[in-house]
Symmetry: C2
Subunit: 292 residues, 2 copies
């Protein structure tokens, strides 16, 4: 089987053995934003043409490749959804004598009826479901952080927080960025930001405090971004912490560890999951279409 | 007397009669960011050299002209502060045989001890104090919205919310802006955003909902900015509404009216004050240095 995680900024391809183990992996900075609308098949041939020619292994893809800007728009499956519901939303694409499957994204509605969406994360979650307790919350931190409620092998609902993107645009384009100096994350100032998020006053007020404390020399320029990051992530956690179930973190290393520290400030232990989950999720989906 | 409101992006000059009434007014897009560090006196001479030559009327200025990037940095006065405390922080600048006074900004600390600052708004508030009840909250909406608590003619404390700037950077630089079409404010979608701010889930989640609702065709592209604006302003009001005193709005016309509508959704009536308050505030400060 060939598993492909094709997102906005990169393509990651995995050749899998019959048991789902990774035989070979390749990745390229060839996200869907770097590919012209009609050239997705060409891009795939360029990257893994030799794998495709070697046999007729099923090819399963997930991520933004199934979005409106991707190869083909695959409609969202709706929560609650488990592996079967997501697999039944797989959509086939063909080029020449070849074909591949693209996973659907997933949608959810919150208590107020407002919709939410994910694309790619649903497949990652399928890959970790086996190791979870009956009820769990999975947080996938990032540009658009996801908090996902899982029960009995089913994704019940989820909510997205624009945490990473708000941080990035404020750092790059607001007055807050002007007083920042690039530096590695300062753990103490990050923690101070997380604490600050628990004060009254609201996020919009806490943001201005980054500037005011800078003007007063209370936050060093090289710690200012860490303080801001702690404030914004802290506000995500304040909003998401109502989930009473066990919390799991899924994502890349430095960020999930930051979240783990931050959650500890709220008195919650969180378990970090294997970030290669997407491969197992794609293998599960592929197993359902194999021989189709 | 000559009163000057000199901010980041514009200079507004007023020639006042002995009773404080405006005899003549001029304004120019000559904010402090457009003036070189050593050329503030030249800039002023260019704009109102004829007024300055006509006599020895005291010249009083307020706004960012007293900031680190302005003519001279005037230290912040501290809350609580009334007209006397602010006047005692006025700082003189001289050029040739002429001189002028620059008002100090004002600083405050919130319950957690985090500092806050304003520059210019303190003078506007001095100009409206006379007409207020003993205890009042004044909201000055904008890029950095201020909520100011006033009691017995004194500014007791205030807090700043980065409302306008967060809206602007998200609209210009985030994924939310990509699905917006320019259009006049849509009052109904603005109100929907203000209502949304009262739901659980937090600002970072409500922001992503703008995108998700857009993807589902639930928010028209030309209403998306109004909905976003309502959400962000609504979150400011959720955080600031604890103030139990009467609420007054001070600022430019379309924005204070939007805030008035939004406050009504929280069951609060707010009174709009005369936006020319800064002239009266400068007149009060000038009266205290006249003949000095």
């Amino acid at each position: 089987m060939i598993a492909i995680d094709w997102g906005t900024s990169s393509l990651r391809a995995y050749r899998l053995g019959a048991d789902g183990s990774v035989v070979e992996r390749r990745s390229a900075p060839l996200g869907i934003m770097q590919v012209e609308a009609s050239r997705f098949a060409d891009a795939l041939e360029t990257q893994i043409g030799d794998w495709l020619s070697a046999g007729d292994a099923p090819v399963v893809m997930s991520g933004m490749v199934g979005s409106r800007q991707g190869w083909v728009e695959v409609p969202y499956a709706s929560c609650p959804a488990g592996a079967a519901e997501i697999a039944s939303g797989l959509r086939e694409v063909r080029w020449g004598r070849r074909r591949a499957w693209i996973a659907p994204g997933l949608s959810s509605r919150d208590a107020a009826g407002v919709p939410d969406v994910m694309r790619g994360e649903e497949t990652q979650i399928l890959g970790v479901l086996d190791g979870l307790p009956v009820a769990a919350s999975i947080c996938l931190p990032g540009t658009h952080s996801k908090w996902v409620e899982v029960r009995d092998g089913t994704i019940v609902r989820f909510s997205t927080h624009m945490t990473g993107e708000v941080f990035a645009v404020l750092k790059a384009h607001s007055i807050l960025g002007r007083m920042m100096r690039e530096a590695p994350t300062d753990q103490q100032w990050f923690a101070a930001g997380v604490r600050r998020a628990q004060d009254s006053g609201g996020l919009l007020h806490h943001l201005f405090g980054v500037r005011a404390r800078g003007l007063f020399g209370e936050v060093p320029e090289e710690a200012s971004a860490s303080y801001l990051s702690g404030i914004i992530i802290g506000h995500e956690l304040v909003a998401a912490r109502s989930a009473a179930t066990a919390v799991f973190l899924l994502g890349a290393k430095p960020l999930v560890e930051l979240y783990q520290h931050a959650l500890r400030q709220f008195g919650r232990d969180a378990t970090i999951l294997d970030p290669d989950a997407v491969v197992r999720g794609l293998f599960q989906l592929g197993s359902r279409v194999a021989g189709d």
